[in-house]
Symmetry: C2
Subunit: 354 residues, 2 copies
């Protein structure tokens, strides 16, 4: 029950998962088990990559820090003692009114909220092929409120790269944007966006297209704002964010996107932040923790995370979350518009939700 034993487990865990592992990774997992017995909720609370949590729980069980019982997960006496002796703990102070996002969609026109909920109800389901998994409709609305709070919507040209979350339609409802364009690979989605767009009389430019192809010339250097929600491999991040930046028309334009810790360790976050600041030369203005809450996807029991989970049980509540980033382009910025065809952008040692 010593720090040195946990350090030994961390070493082993790092070797097994190829994910950098720290004493704190294991402490975070133990503290999460203290708060919940459900695997998915534990992943969320730990803030560690799912693949690391899954294998970490196995090793912690072998050393008697935790135990599995009827597909639930509990601290063993040794785990309780470790936390207690070191006085560790955390507490949830999340604002219950805005759910920690800091902004309220109640401040949007109520017709926008009502109509968007209607539109969301009939939307196509999430597809594993494209690593889909969409956010709750309130989150899509919170994203556009966030944009509007920064002046990134009114009178602006907005591009959505991958629109699983129907952000384009929510923006359409506001009537604020000067132009809206969408690039989306899934024809079911572009058909749906096109249908609703016609019905409501929005003017949305829709491209059914693989983002690994370079952007068409007339989309490059044209927009004021982009929104995307990429898979968290470094390749996919360079692709989605790089394309988004390439589509912006100049300096001091803005980009919005989610980044989760469930599919990406903080070491991967750092690699990505270096890409943003060094390669793209954009500044990060906001990182809002757990802004995005994803509705459970139907292919859960077919995804990698299910396979590696040490217990096979369904989530009991929203578990997949991501932080919302906002960036701005500055002098000397550059995007990425090279082709990336034939590259598998959905696989690395940390991605579990695809």
């Amino acid at each position: 029950m010593s720090i040195s034993e946990l350090l030994e487990i961390a070493k082993l865990l790092e070797k097994k998962t190829s994910i950098l592992t720290y004493l704190r990774s294991l402490e975070n997992i133990l503290l999460a088990v203290k708060k919940s017995d459900n695997f998915w909720t534990i992943v969320r609370y730990s803030g560690e990559p799912l693949n690391l949590v899954a294998e970490g729980l196995r090793l912690l069980a072998e050393r008697n820090y935790i135990n599995f019982s009827e597909n639930k997960i509990y601290l063993s006496r040794k785990g309780v003692e470790y936390i207690k002796r070191n006085g560790l703990g955390s507490y949830d102070y999340t604002c219950d009114k805005c759910k920690g996002k800091g902004i309220l969609i109640e401040n949007l026109d109520e017709d926008i909220v009502k109509e968007f909920l209607k539109i969301h109800e009939r939307r196509p389901s999430a597809m594993q092929e494209f690593d889909q998994g969409y956010v709750a409709p309130e989150i899509t609305l919170a994203r556009i409120a966030f944009m509007d709070s920064y002046g990134d919507l009114r009178g602006r040209k907005v591009l959505i790269l991958g629109d699983d979350d129907l952000v384009s339609l929510a923006i359409g409802l506001t009537g604020f944007a000067k132009e809206i364009a969408v690039i989306e690979i899934d024809k079911r989605l572009t058909d749906y966006i096109s249908e609703i767009s016609r019905k409501y009389g929005f003017d949305i430019e829709i491209y059914t297209r693989d983002l690994r192809e370079p952007l068409p010339d007339d989309l490059v250097g044209r927009f004021d704002t982009f929104q995307t929600d990429p898979p968290e491999t470094i390749k996919a991040l360079r692709l989605f964010i790089g394309r988004g930046i390439a589509a912006l028309h100049g300096e001091r334009c803005a980009g919005y996107f989610g980044l989760t810790r469930i599919d990406a360790s903080l070491d991967k976050w750092l690699k990505f932040q270096k890409m943003l600041t060094n390669e793209f030369k954009v500044v990060i203005t906001d990182i809002v923790r757990d802004f995005n809450e994803y509705i459970d996807w139907e292919y859960l029991d077919k995804m990698h995370g299910w396979k590696v989970a040490p217990v096979k049980i369904k989530p009991e509540s929203t578990w997949f979350v991501s932080s919302q980033y906002r960036i701005e382009t500055l002098r000397g910025f550059r995007g990425f518009n090279e082709p990336m065809i034939d590259e598998d952008i959905y696989v690395d040692e940390e991605l579990a939700s695809a």
Copy 2:
């Protein structure tokens, strides 16, 4: 009233201020004037450096986009037209319950809140000599709630570098931390912290010391968490954050600090983010907009910002804000503990609040 005229003003403004200036800088100023007629509130809403806003307003007045009247600032017809023709605008969606911070101090024990408000009432005033200017007591409490939400307080050793905001005393009231230490240059403050600490029976290690001196050996590599609120020159950022990181005991320890846009352009933010990710090798986990609201300081009319202000009028409400950052150390991180004696850390072309 064209974009090309504003671009011309931006060029001139950049030359006058030596701060990179964009079309959007001027649009942000115009949109802020649309929302308020008070200089300080305009600075806050614009999100642009005070020095840029001050000189920018003068140039915009010369070109008839705005006008000054009885120390107030208004859009002229030309300014109104520019905004209208381009359909620009923003809206405030800030959560009224948590004031946009995403966390609630109501979730702290009510005795902690009550006692801290009492302690805060008798605190020494802010001193210009050390670029002081402290946050409202509710913000200090929100900072420790933020730390506690991440598990960075309970059982942890915490160092406060510069404790104008009395964070050490708030942490003392919780009883959560394993150790608390403070480095502060102002003897009035260390005397006060020491007095209260004795009165309440806290065990706070207090150093009255200039941070430009290297940290004493027994503070290096010892803590789990640090908190600081540095002046926004690049030198001061390297000093305060670098010292904080040098005081951390290893990987996956956390640091908290405020960073304003009023004394730092986004270009300076980017420079600083490169320092964090490349030089210190730490990851940014959170950037919470306008988390810190500063109580007005008594030396307002003696600070640089007052001198450059195009109108001489007092603030009408809280105007100085900063975003709260959280960082974590990762493998290979390093701090900065070299001496910096005789360097003036309070001056650059953007710093206006000192």
